[in-house]
C-alpha cells in the first residue's frame, strides 16, 4: 500500500518561489493501475519523483507499506520518458543492471533478464546495443529492466510520450498484459486522455499549478476496453471537461499555450 500524505513542494528559483504541489493526499491500492493527468507544469513529474525518492517534498511524506520514502531504492522502479538505457551496455546487461548491483551471479541474473525480455518481446535482441533498437523497443527494454529488479511499485513518467501513435497503442496493450502477469502497482503519468482511459483503474486529475488533486475518477470498465465505445467516451468527455477548465485556469500563468499534448513538465 502506497500512501501519499499532505505532500507539498515549493521550488526556490531566482525569480522567486514556485509552488509545484499543494497538499496532495492519495492512497494507492496494491496492484492498482493509477494514471495521473493534468495540464502541463502541474507537478505530475515532481510527484512521481518524490515517490521515487529522487526529490524531497517541502512538507508531507510518502509511505510504502508504512515505511517512509526518503531516497531512491529498488522497491520503486521507474521508466522515464527519455530513452534511459545505458548505451554502453547490451540489452541483457541493461536489464540485469539492478541484479548486478545486488550481487546476483551472472547466470542467474541473465536467466531472470531473459524471462523479462521474453515478456516484452525482445528475447531476440539481448545481444544488441540500445542504438540498434527503435524507440518503442528501447522503452520495452526499459520496462523489462525496471521489472527485472522486482519492485513493488512501477513509476512511469510518460513512457510512451516519444514513440509514434501506432507503436504507442501496441505498447499500451502490452503494458496491460505485463501488468496482468506481474501484478505490480503502476503509477503512470500521461498527457493523453485516450491513454489514461485505456489503461487505468483510476485516473487522478491534477489542477493547474500549484498541483492539487482536482478529482479522482474510477473508470470501472472491463478490459480490454474499446477506445471508441460509448462508456469510454462518456468518461473521456468528463475528463476532457475537467482538463479544459484547468487549462483555462492555468492561462493566467506562463504555460497557457502548451496545451495538453505538447511539452512535458
Amino acid at each position: 500500500m502506497l500512501t501519499v500524505s499532505n505532500i507539498s513542494r515549493v521550488f526556490e528559483s531566482e525569480t522567486g518561489e514556485v509552488e509545484a504541489l499543494r497538499n496532495i493526499n492519495l492512497a494507492v491500492r496494491d496492484k492498482e493501475f493509477l494514471c495521473f493527468i493534468g495540464p502541463s507544469g502541474c507537478g505530475k513529474t515532481t510527484l512521481l519523483r518524490i515517490i521515487a525518492g529522487l526529490d524531497q517534498p517541502t512538507s508531507g511524506e510518502v509511505l510504502l507499506d508504512s515505511k517512509k520514502i526518503t531516497s531512491p531504492d529498488s522497491e520503486r522502479g521507474m521508466v522515464f520518458q527519455e530513452y534511459s538505457l545505458f548505451p554502453w551496455r547490451r540489452i541483457i546487461d541493461n536489464v540485469s543492471f539492478g541484479m548486478e548491483l545486488k550481487g546476483v551471479p551472472k547466470h542467474e541474473r541473465y536467466e531472470t533478464a531473459r524471462k523479462f525480455l521474453k515478456m516484452v518481446g525482445l528475447d531476440a535482441f539481448e545481444r544488441s546495443y540500445p542504438y540498434e533498437l527503435s524507440g518503442g523497443m528501447r522503452q520495452r527494454a526499459a520496462i523489462a529492466r525496471a521489472l527485472a529488479n522486482d519492485p513493488k511499485v512501477l513509476l512511469m513518467d510518460e513512457p510512451f510520450g516519444s514513440v509514434d501513435a501506432q507503436t504507442r497503442n501496441i505498447l499500451q496493450g502490452e503494458l496491460l498484459r505485463i501488468w496482468n502477469e506481474t501484478r505490480k502497482t503502476v503509477l503512470f503519468i500521461t498527457h493523453s486522455i485516450d491513454e489514461a482511459m485505456y489503461l487505468a483503474d483510476r485516473v487522478v486529475v491534477l489542477s493547474a499549478r500549484p498541483g492539487q488533486i482536482r478529482e479522482i475518477i474510477e473508470i470501472g470498465l472491463d478490459r480490454p476496453r474499446v477506445r471508441t465505445s460509448v462508456e469510454v467516451n462518456v468518461i473521456r468527455e468528463r475528463l476532457l471537461g475537467l482538463l479544459m477548465e484547468e487549462r483555462t485556469r492555468g492561462c493566467g500563468e506562463t504555460v497557457c499555450w502548451t496545451g495538453l499534448e505538447l511539452g512535458s513538465d
Binding site: 525518492g53 531504492d73 520503486r76 522502479g77 534511459s84 545505458f86 554502453w88 548486478e100 540500445p130 529492466r145
Partner: protein, 265 residues
C-alpha cells in the same frame, strides 16, 4: 567471379592512386629542388641523401626510438594515472572541483617546456626528468576531458541507476559515470599523446644524451642536416603510428555501442 574480384581490386587501387601520386610528386619536387635549385645539403638535403641517412643510422635509430618511447611512456602513464582520477574527482564532487580548479587554471597555461629548468634541478638529467616534462604536457588534456566527460553524464542515466538501487557514489561512478565518460577520456588521451610527443622532443633536446629529440640537436651541431631530416621524418612516422594504433584500439573497443566517437580523424 574472377572478373568481379578483379574489378573490386581495380576500384581499391584507384582509390589510393591520387594519394600515392601526391606523395610521389612531393618527393620528386623535393629531390629536384634540392639537387638543382638549392644545391646545398646543409640548407636542403635531398630525398636520396635522407634515405641514405636512414640506412647509415638504422642501428642508432632503433636505440633512440626505445629511449624516446620510454620517455613518452613514463609521461603518458603518469599523465593518465594523475589526470583520470583527478578529472573523475573534480567532475563528480563539486567541492573538489572548486578546490583544484583555480590551481589548475593557473598552472595549465604554463608551457610544459618552461618546466625544463626545474625538472633538471629537481630530478636531474634523468629519464624521469624527461618523463616529467612529458607528464606536464599530457596531464592537462586528460584531466580536462575526463572532467568534461563527467560533467556531461546524462542526468537521466544517473537517476535511472539510482532507482535501480545504485545509490552510492562509488557505484554510480564505476557503473554509470565512468563508462559514459570513456569516449571523452579517450579523446583526452589522444590529444595528450600529440602534446606528449612534442614534449619528448623538447625535453631530449635540452637535457638528454640520447633519444630522437637529442639526435636532432646533436646532428645539427655536426652540420649533418640530412641526418636531422631523417630523424624528423622518423618522429613524424612514430607519432602517426601511435595515434593510428590508439584510434584502432579505442574504436574497436567502443564501436560496439558508439561509432566514430574519437574526435576528429
Amino acid at each position: 567471379m574472377a572478373a568481379g574480384a578483379g574489378s573490386v581490386k581495380a576500384v581499391r587501387r584507384r582509390r589510393y592512386g591520387v594519394e600515392i601520386a601526391s606523395l610521389f610528386v612531393l618527393v620528386v619536387i623535393w629531390q629536384l629542388a634540392a639537387d638543382n635549385l638549392v644545391g646545398n645539403a646543409f640548407i636542403l638535403p635531398s630525398f636520396t641523401e635522407v634515405m641514405a641517412s636512414f640506412y647509415t643510422l638504422q642501428g642508432d635509430m632503433l636505440h633512440d626510438i626505445q629511449i624516446s618511447l620510454m620517455h613518452f611512456g613514463i609521461g603518458m602513464a603518469a599523465g593518465i594515472g594523475v589526470g583520470v582520477p583527478f578529472g573523475v574527482a573534480m567532475g563528480w564532487f563539486r567541492t573538489i572541483d572548486r578546490i583544484f580548479d583555480p590551481i589548475i587554471e593557473i598552472v595549465r597555461p604554463i608551457p610544459p617546456i618552461a618546466w625544463i629548468p626545474f625538472a633538471i634541478i629537481w630530478i636531474g638529467l634523468t629519464h624521469t626528468s624527461a618523463g616529467f616534462i612529458v607528464f606536464i604536457g599530457a596531464v592537462f588534456p586528460i584531466l580536462i576531458n575526463t572532467h568534461a566527460g563527467f560533467k556531461n553524464v546524462s542526468k537521466v542515466l544517473i537517476e535511472t541507476a539510482m532507482v535501480l538501487g545504485c545509490t552510492k557514489n562509488y557505484d554510480l561512478i564505476r557503473k554509470v559515470a565512468l563508462p559514459s565518460a570513456v569516449p571523452d577520456i579517450a579523446t583526452g588521451i589522444r590529444i595528450a599523446m600529440g602534446v606528449a610527443w612534442m614534449c619528448v622532443v623538447a625535453a631530449e633536446m635540452f637535457g638528454m644524451t640520447s633519444g630522437l629529440g637529442y639526435n636532432i640537436w646533436h646532428w645539427k651541431d655536426l652540420h649533418r642536416m640530412d641526418h636531422v631530416m631523417a630523424y624528423m621524418i622518423l618522429l613524424g612516422f612514430i607519432s602517426l603510428s601511435i595515434d593510428r594504433a590508439f584510434r584502432c584500439l579505442v574504436e574497436r573497443r567502443l564501436s560496439g555501442w558508439r561509432k566514430g566517437i574519437v574526435a576528429g580523424s
